[in-house]
Every structure is written in structure tokens, then in C-alpha cells.
Symmetry: C2
Subunit: 288 residues, 2 copies
């Protein structure tokens, strides 16, 4: 299938790679050309100088960029994807962005006879590299049916959650849950260390019971070690929590702990941890 992929960051680069490796004809675009050239070399695809040109012949145009502003620029700009896409083509946006921008892009797409899916992912860089992402999709069912088998090349779970924006809203729920979960984990492990317990043994025992979580099993060892130079960066988490808190004002849901944890991440940014993994919440407790 003729595909395009716009945005070759830590997520987009390997995701586009999976599509090429699966035999699809992939044309890419990236703001910095060097990365597009490296990708083209590695996967024998083509790259173009603008989203519009890259999108020209594609049945599905994927994108994965930074934030709402980037999404608007890459999709709606004068040389943006919508300006190049052929009738009936689908734009699938893997960026974690607001539900509003998703609804806005769907309206624009409809007006042009195009399809649109918001399709944020979870699973991080490792999930993108291993093709084990969770893809949460919002949009029309017909577009989903076309895009879903293609997304399976990097998605272990690809699910239609509802109309446009529903993918983004689902991703928000994920980040809200993570905020409380990781802070609880950080407070527990820090308490364990200050109480003189063997925190690794405590984590292993607790993981057998009702406080079990993926984060406990996968992040406790590095939290105890104080190792944070990997994973999902605090800057990205703050971007995501900002989206959650803005949406919560609209749908009138209270997020007392997510809001508090967002402030903790602001303090981690202040102490230079902008690129640290989200598990660095324990740093504030261990070194207040």
C-alpha cells in the first residue's frame, strides 16, 4: 500500500520503519532533513520536502509530531498534508494532542472528502521499536477498518474507542492513572528506604498482591537505584497532563492528585530533570 509518515522522532522513526519492513511503499517527511535521509537510507523509502508532497499518492498518511501546534501546522499548513492528499485518503495522527484538535481536523478532513483518525499510542520508545504499542483510536469506523491492519505492524492492540477525539481522551485517562500510580509507588519506595527496609525485597513481595502494577514490576528497580536517564520524559508528561487538566475543566471532572503530581513534575523540571523518566517523582522525596 502507498503510505506516508510525517514526523520521524523517537516514536515515528521506528513506527515508519515497521511499515516499510512489512513491504509497504512508504514516503516520509521530517522537519530536519538529516533524519529523513537517514531513514530513507535505512529502510529504502523516499522522502519529500513538505508534508503535502509526501502525502500525495498515499492511501493513508500517518503523523507523529510534538503538540497541538505542530499537528495543525503539519496537517493544515499551506504545504501541509491536507493540501496534498488525494480524495478518500485517511490522515491518522499518532501525536498525543487535545481532543479539540482531533475534532477540528476531522471537520477539516470531512470538508475535503478525506478521512481522519486520532490515534495516540502508549508503550513508549521500546514499544515503538518492538512493534508492541497500544493504539487508541477515535474516528469513523470505515476509516478505522482501513487503517487498523496497517497500524498492527507496530500496534499489539489497536482499538476504536469512539468518535473523533476518543483516542486522545483515552490516552488522557492513561496519563491520569499513571500520575497517581507512580506517585504512590514513589512514596512507598521512599518510605521503605527511610524505614531501613530492603526496598527491592519489599517491591518483590508487594508485587504479589493488590498493589501489583506494571510500574512496580518495571520501574521499582531503577527508582531504588535513582536512575532516571531513560524512558518517558518529564517534559512530555507535563505536556500530556496539561492536556488532561484543560480537558477536565471542560468536562468538569476533578483531578486533585493528577494536578498535584503535575506540580511535582514542574519541580523536577526546575531541578534539571526535564528529560528524566516519569518515575523520577521519587527524587523529590528522596532529595527534597
Amino acid at each position: 500500500m502507498k503510505l506516508a509518515f510525517l514526523g520521524l522522532g523517537v516514536m515515528g522513526y521506528p513506527m515508519a520503519g515497521h511499515l516499510a519492513k512489512a513491504g509497504h511503499d512508504v514516503t516520509v517527511y521530517n522537519r530536519s532533513t538529516a533524519k529523513a535521509e537517514a531513514w530513507t537510507k535505512e529502510y529504502r523509502g523516499q522522502h519529500r520536502a513538505s508534508p503535502a508532497e509526501a502525502a500525495e499518492d498515499a492511501a493513508i498518511v500517518f503523523m507523529c509530531v510534538g503538540n497541538d501546534d505542530d499537528v495543525r501546522a503539519i496537517a493544515l499548513g499551506p504545504r501541509g498534508a491536507f493540501a496534498g492528499m488525494k480524495p478518500g485518503a485517511i490522515l491518522a495522527d499518532h501525536t498525543t494532542a487535545s481532543a479539540e484538535v482531533a475534532r477540528e481536523l476531522e471537520r477539516e478532513a470531512k470538508g475535503k472528502g478525506l478521512g481522519f483518525l486520532d490515534a495516540p499510542v502508549s508503550g513508549g520508545q521500546a514499544g515503538a521499536v518492538n512493534g508492541r504499542l497500544t493504539v487508541m483510536v477515535g474516528g469513523a469506523e470505515a476509516s478505522f477498518r482501513t487503517a487498523e491492519p496497517v497500524m498492527r505492524h507496530y500496534g499489539q492492540a489497536v482499538t476504536l474507542m469512539g468518535p473523533a477525539g476518543s483516542g486522545q481522551l483515552t490516552k488522557m485517562v492513561n496519563q491520569i492513572m499513571l500520575a497517581g500510580l507512580i506517585e504512590g509507588l514513589a512514596e512507598g519506595l521512599n518510605f521503605a528506604m527511610r524505614a531501613g527496609l530492603d526496598a527491592s525485597q519489599v517491591a518483590a513481595v508487594i508485587a504479589k498482591g493488590a498493589a501489583q502494577s506494571w510500574q512496580l514490576e518495571n520501574r521499582a528497580p531503577t527508582m531504588i537505584e535513582g536512575k532516571f536517564d531513560f524512558g518517558f520524559a518529564v517534559d512530555w508528561m507535563r505536556k500530556d497532563l496539561g492536556i488532561c487538566l484543560a480537558e477536565a475543566r471542560r468536562n468538569k471532572s476533578a483531578l486533585p492528585v493528577a494536578a498535584l503530581v503535575d506540580q511535582f513534575y514542574a519541580r523536577i523540571q526546575e531541578r534539571g530533570g526535564t528529560r528524566w523518566d516519569t518515575s523520577s517523582l521519587i527524587h523529590l522525596l528522596a532529595k527534597p
Copy 2:
């Protein structure tokens, strides 16, 4: 082996039952005699009128009561367990209590030539009934080696965490982690419902990723339903968080979210939810 079990509440009753079913000779004591009689009938054991009498010939005396004051009364009172135990016997306390009372009881035990283990459990009533509890033990290794095979009759994991008090401290870590985890889950699910998503579908999708937890898999369905008349009661959680917060003042660890969630549980008590499951945190968000 000759054993005693003191305290036949929702946990102690089935735990003592597992010991009898395994062929041990179990003598029980309970404050209200009716329960002791019922237990004796069901499991063909004996019951006595005081902890001292029940403990008389036992190699290991187990207890599972309400709080620090109950532990002190049952162990140290004039007709308490220590007054009846034979030299070399071990008192194993399954109550969730403070680390201080554990250290106090170990000192008392040593002075009398007895052994002491603090051994709080997690896994709830279901774990007690099914014999699948996690037992977190503090105390001397020799006492642990004697008691561990017996505890295995109701414990799927029985682990020595360190010296006296370490079992209690480990249980505290568990409760601290749960506080943040359940509040994160509650905020996420409430947000999902207010955003118009299918919260059950959202929970199923998110459980495949980095926000996976036992609580998400086992409590999301009832949280979405608003069903809380089961499980681990808010009153008990407040007792446990009270112990955690007091210990945190001593070991100087910050518990910003656990302290906040403790206040949320206080509000649930005020609205009549004293016996609701801990997952009722979502009730405050759904019906503020």
C-alpha cells in the same frame, strides 16, 4: 503441632480454619464466645475463655485482632497470651499494627524466653478464605523458620523482611502505594465517564499498557458500576494510613498523596461509607 489462634474476625476465622484442616491441633480464643463456639463446631477444635488459657500448650500462638490497643491487651493483659505461653513458644501477630508495638512485644517476649513475629497479611478476606495471603514477617530468623511452614497453610507468599517491625513496615509500604494507585484509577475512570467514553472499554485497553495494575483489572468494573459494598473497608484503610502517617513522621518520609487520600477517605466516612471498599474514592469524584 499444638497451635493457638486468638481473634476470629473475617481474617482470623478462615486462617485458623486452614490450620485445623491441615491437621494441626488448634485451640482458639475470641472476645465474643459465640464465634469461638461456631468455629469449634466447624473445625472440631477447642476454645478457651482467655488468651492465656488458649495459649497454654501451643508451640505457636497466632493472633489477628483490630489495632495496637487490641494487640497489647491480647498479648500483654493479665490473662493475655504471654501469661500462658510455655517457654520457647512463639507469638505470631497477623494484625496490621504499628512497628512500635511489634518492637515492644518482641522485647517483652525476649524477657520471657518467648519468640515474637510481626506478620501482617495482604490479600483480604478472599485471600484468607482461599489460603492465598501474602504474609510479611519481621523478627528473628529462628522463629521465622519454625512458623513459616505453618503460615504456608494460608499464605501463598511468606517472607521474612528483617528484624521486628519489618513486617509492619512492609505492609505500610503496600498501603501507601495503594492510596496513590486507587486515587489515580478513580480520577481516570471518572474522567473517562465524564468525557463520554465507554469506561469499561477504556479500562480494558489501558490494562494492556504501562498503567496496568491489579486494581485496574479487578476494581475498575465495580468502580464504574458504583458498587462498594464489599472488600477492604474505608475504616480499616484509615486505620492503616494513620499508622503509615505516624511512622512517616518518625522516619521523615514525605507522603503528600497518601496524606491527601487519607483525607478523601475521611470524607467518605462522613458520607456514610465507613464499610465501603477502598475503591469508593471514585464516589467523591462522581458525586462531589
